[in-house]
Point group: C2
Chain length 214, copies 2
DNA sequence: AAACAATAGTGGTCTGACCACTTTTCAACA
DNA sequence: TGTTGAAAAGTGGTCAGACCACTATTGTTT
């Protein structure tokens, strides 16, 4: 197609060219991009240069490649970006504490978010969790929190939380003591009632119980 | 070094290998990585595969390459990543919303965290910001929020926030109207006084003002 | 019409070759 | 001896061509 003016980093230019091409040709999410060989031809660069650009975009989760099929414009929901970044960040000192704090940030935000929304407080999920707590108690800590974040309907936050959970070596197992069950019950009841501050307090207590365990 | 078992995407494995290598050899920010040829030799893959991984990390801003010199571990403050990303992503309405909500989560968490800690509320930074607001008003929105998150001393949260901020192309510029200045003043004063809920309310107002601008 | 085999297309990887640039080396010079 | 400066070595940037593994298409046979 057009000839591009080489700057210091050709593959960065290619990334920009691809963006323009996608826009110009109205390529939508899920659509197929031209093949690497075609792109190399059209942009007048080597295939390896095209690939460096495509691989970058793939790591960002902007495109998806399937061997034998082609390259497709991807949905941002993949968020591979966050994954890579976190694995790099995670290995730096002080990070264990940061990971825990950040995880708590997202968990508390979910609680607050639900408390503020009438329709989400009335979801049957909470009652069902309470019932399960009363009966056999086969409830995973992880399930409770995950449900809350799922309900907030923020996929990015959910994705981040998943990552943090994986790295934070926290015992997300079954509820153990009776005291813990009481605390979680209080948390759920306060959420249902929309008592934000009390819910947060219950959550803080819960964290303390879990901490004391380790 | 070691031989890696090929999965479907070799270059993704390489990204992981590089991470391990950086950790194992204690390569710090600013340090030089082995050359592409050496990496190819050590990981027993072709140089082009190494390059695909490195170029990906470069677009993420995790490394920096200088022709003739080498590849260096970077503290990913270089922008280039996100201009590209935002232009790619902003077309998808849902993810844009998620990014914004998640950014707000981190900003509010910082405010709450500071309000709860006496010693951080008394930091001279807040007074100095207030003074600057009263006088010429040359204060960037970004500076205020960043300062708050920095003070919380959670690097991970800070990095996530940086990322989200750049994704969301929010007008993080100078404070404009008098009403906005008043709101920010209220936010800062409530923080200093440790009035958590009032600080959050002020923050909510601020967000609304910024929203209304667009 | 259905089943199957050959073919073309696509991404994944490797090799080797240049180029442009920077750092290092080391010999010639003052 | 100390400096200078040119050659050499090292490094990232790019290209071309060659395979491989896999998928989709095509075309023939049954």
């Amino acid at each position: 197609m057009e000839t591009i003016k080489p700057s210091s980093k050709m593959f960065l230019d290619i990334v920009g060219e691809l963006r323009l091409m996608i826009k110009a040709e109205g390529i939508a999410v899920g659509d197929k991009l031209p093949s690497e060989r075609v792109l190399a031809e059209r942009l007048q660069v080597g295939r390896s240069t095209i690939r460096e650009a495509l691989r970058s975009l793939e790591l960002l989760g902007l495109i998806e490649t399937r061997r034998g099929e082609g390259t497709f414009l991807s949905d941002f929901k993949k968020h591979q970006l966050v994954e890579v970044l976190s694995t790099f960040i995670m290995q730096q000192p002080n990070s264990a504490m940061d990971v825990k704090q950040t995880r708590i940030i997202h968990e508390k935000a979910a609680i607050r978010s639900i408390c503020k929304q009438e329709e989400k407080r009335q979801l049957p999920v909470w009652q069902s969790l309470l019932v399960r707590l009363e009966e056999d108690g086969a409830v995973l800590r992880e399930d409770i929190i995950r449900e809350m974040i799922v309900v907030t309907d923020n996929r990015l936050s959910l994705k981040i939380w998943f990552l943090l959970k994986r790295y934070s070596r926290v015992p997300y197992e079954e509820l153990t003591t009776a005291a813990e069950k009481e605390t979680v019950k209080a948390l759920l009841e306060n959420i249902v009632s929309g008592l934000e501050e009390k819910a947060i307090t219950a959550y803080d207590n819960w964290i303390e119980i879990i901490e004391g365990e380790v």
